[in-house]
């Protein structure tokens, strides 16, 4: 079989990259050790959020958002996307001041999507919110989508364009030989001139093997979901002073996340839950949403996610041999970026450059003198 590219990892980023490569007529194989969408891409909170992104990510996030608004045109499925809006709330004046400062910063960068609101508008948007809150920051055209449905839609579209998916197959090592990248797997070797590393929480291993180590940690953001409740909430809610991501699905269940981490075992591919941290989450919810005090928690879970030391993903070519491209380590907020990053990767492969500013995501950004590595704590959603 003649391949133009091998993609390691069948998460949203691997599927999106493969789809974009196929749209550019490249023959692609996606190798996935488990099943497509089994990890972060299939189990995340589904937040499609530009709100409160790191300034470096804003251009990508804005480009991705335009794709989300027309997602059915790209993949032939609406991915369960809802234009619900996202809002980050302030519980006191100090928090509100921080949010207003943030809004000024975003505006100064030339973007209009983040809008500070006072108490009246806040309670109009989120009537169920506890009355002690004072204001918030809104992105009215943000939303949420169904993670597994989305990843599957990207996969199905890619497959319809000829991309092959090899599930239950693990890439054990990669090397470059005679102008090709060879992916050694537990089911044989696959060669192509281009190798794309979309291995999520395992991406650092491939990067290190090709001479580009990055300071990296695997984390396990936890989620809880309630039994169905009557509809009471439209936007996705986060909080300035708390770890929170809070949304009600169409079916009435309430999905609660926000960056409390459980135990992660990347090698085994498993996670464990930390109920002391989830109790903290429950307290936050009970305080902010009195309506939730009668709710019951039906399920909890966690997903494995790669967290790069500065909380930003790695996107771009490797520094050594040619033909290798990385897109991994999305540090708890890569779902929303999925549609755009696939395009970036495909542009890099076919044109050697991207229209979007990806300098901050260079893989060798840590190769400079080591700086203090902050502990991962960014909220997801």
């Amino acid at each position: 079989m003649n391949l133009d590219a091998v993609v390691v990892g069948g998460g949203l980023h691997g599927c999106s990259a493969a789809l974009q490569l196929a749209l550019r007529k490249l023959r692609c194989l996606v190798i996935e050790k488990d099943t497509v969408g089994r990890h972060a891409s299939g189990v995340n909170a589904g937040g499609v959020r530009r709100l409160d992104r790191d300034p470096a990510e804003i251009p990508l996030s804005v480009a991705a958002m335009e794709m989300w608004w027309a997602i059915a045109e790209l993949v032939g499925d609406d991915c369960g996307f809802r234009l619900s809006g996202q809002i980050k709330i302030a519980q006191n004046e100090t928090e509100l001041a921080v949010l207003e400062e943030r809004a000024r910063l975003v505006r100064s960068l030339g973007y209009e999507h983040e809008e500070p609101v006072g108490a009246n508008e806040l309670f109009r948007l989120v009537p169920a919110l506890s009355r002690h809150c004072v204001g918030g920051l809104v992105a009215r055209e943000d939303g949420f989508a169904q993670p597994y449905q989305t990843t599957k839609a990207f996969r199905d579209k890619a497959a319809s364009l000829g991309v092959r998916f090899l599930e239950g197959t693990r890439v054990l090592g990669v090397e470059r030989k005679a102008g090709d990248w060879i992916a050694e797997t537990d089911r044989g070797r696959f060669a192509a001139p281009v190798l794309v590393n979309c291995a999520g929480g395992w991406g650092d291993a491939i990067a290190a093997a090709t001479g580009d180590p990055v300071p990296f940690e695997v984390v396990a953001p936890m989620m809880m979901v309630s039994a169905r409740l009557p509809p009471f909430l439209t936007p996705v809610v986060g909080a300035a002073g708390r770890k929170l991501s809070f949304k009600q699905m169409d079916n009435g269940t309430v999905v609660i996340g926000g960056g409390h981490f459980g135990g992660a075992d990347a090698e085994a591919g498993t996670t464990s839950l930390d109920f002391r941290a989830l109790a903290e989450s429950a307290r936050t919810v009970a305080e902010l949403f009195p309506i939730m005090r009668g709710a019951s928690i039906v399920r909890c879970w966690a997903g494995l996610e790669g967290f790069v030391a500065d909380g930003l993903p790695v996107i771009g070519p490797g520094t050594g041999e040619p033909g290798i491209y990385h897109a991994f380590g999305f540090s708890t907020h890569g779902f929303q970026l999925g549609p755009a990053v696939g395009r970036i990767v495909a542009d890099l492969v076919t044109r050697g450059e991207s229209d979007l500013p990806i300098e901050p995501f260079r893989i060798d950004r840590f190769a400079k003198p080591p700086s203090a590595v902050p502990h991962p704590s960014a909220g997801s959603g």
Partner: protein, 466 residues
Amino acid sequence: MTARHELAVIGAGPAGLAAAATAAELGLKVALFDDQPAPGGQIYRGVERTPLADPAVLGDDYRRGADLAEAFRASGAAYHPSCGVWLLTPERELGLLDNGQARFVTAGRVIIAGGAMERPVPFPGWTLPGVMTAGAGQILLKSAGMVPGKGVVLAGTGPLLLLLAAQYLRAGVQIAALLDMTPPSNALRALPHLPAALSAFGTLAKGLALKREIHRAGVRVVKGVTSLRALGEARLEAVAYEAGGREQRLDSELLLVHFGVIPESNTTRSLGIRHLWDSRQLCWRPVADAWGNTGAEGFAVAGDGAGIGGALAAEYAGRLAALEAARALGRIDAAERDRSAAPVRAALAKERRVRPFLDVLFQPAPELISQLADDTVVCRCEEVTAGQIREAVGQGCTGPNQLKSFTRCGMGPCQGRQCGTTVSQLIGHTLGRPVEEIGAYRIRPPLKPIGLTQLAALDGEGEAAA
């Protein structure tokens, strides 16, 4: 500070009561947690204080439970009733909901004796009010002295169905019909297992006596029943079925169904313990050694939760697990353990010899799952039908966990308990692959839904905040 126990026992049925009493007598500091308000488990439910004026209705076996409960009460084991276990960690931390208060405890060893549940078998109309399980009928009898008002229909297969019929008759209940769905070919297939079973003659004799009792009472017993359907709009109005090639219909407001019992495996599964598909009992059971030790360090299983063996086998297995716990915790040495275990093991072996015969004799028809009509609801919570499951498989879904993402099957409040076994079998059948390969739902705590405010009341130390 989080309380620490030497041995935690989960479940106050015969297995848990015997385990806790045996261990306490050997000097272990034992705490037994059970989500019911009184000891007994399923078979001996309400045994200390049944509301029945005449407990003889329940039969002789029921009385053995009173002795067990008494020995347990006298043993010095700490008893925590109305205390559900919703979390088990590999470090042997237990999350409890103790009379509504969430808290943590830790234990040096844990014996899981959570018992069985009735095998859920979907059929058209099985979600209608007025359709319940035979076990449900029995629980109402044992714990509330309640019996069907008039014209109850019993349907399905298994000893419990016959037992309930007999218990109802003794209580003066009129039974409209007993629809026997045992495949007629089972008897022949079970025959090779009969010689072994004869050593447990008592069990067989009891079964025959039940049949005679039902026959003598003149209950209408219909053999070879298939295509069971529950009809009605707001509630059950009639039961339809096929027998002898003819379509039949019985008006009734209460249908009690039973298709045998299977281990309640969510608890053991949540620990990542390996489970294998028992192709004779048609259910998953945790893999454990002869002492009940599982692959999860310090966790043993005993009783029907480890594989269906009945009340006596449960009691013996509970004792064995307790002896092993006492050895592991240094109270007795291996020699003493083995000495004390020998008679128990012999009794257990004898009890188990009857199983293969009973398992095959009462095996539900494979068609109940393989021929499920497309519009029959399989997942009661999310109302996912057999057709939707087959469709998902057609779209590339290869297992129960993926099915959740495809259809929400198994994602409701019962956490897959009602659809799990059916789903594994149905996917296996649709793909033409063994159930073992298809696997089962991954189970995460909480084992039962927990109130948001109950969870919120756990403070950082783990104790419920005052």
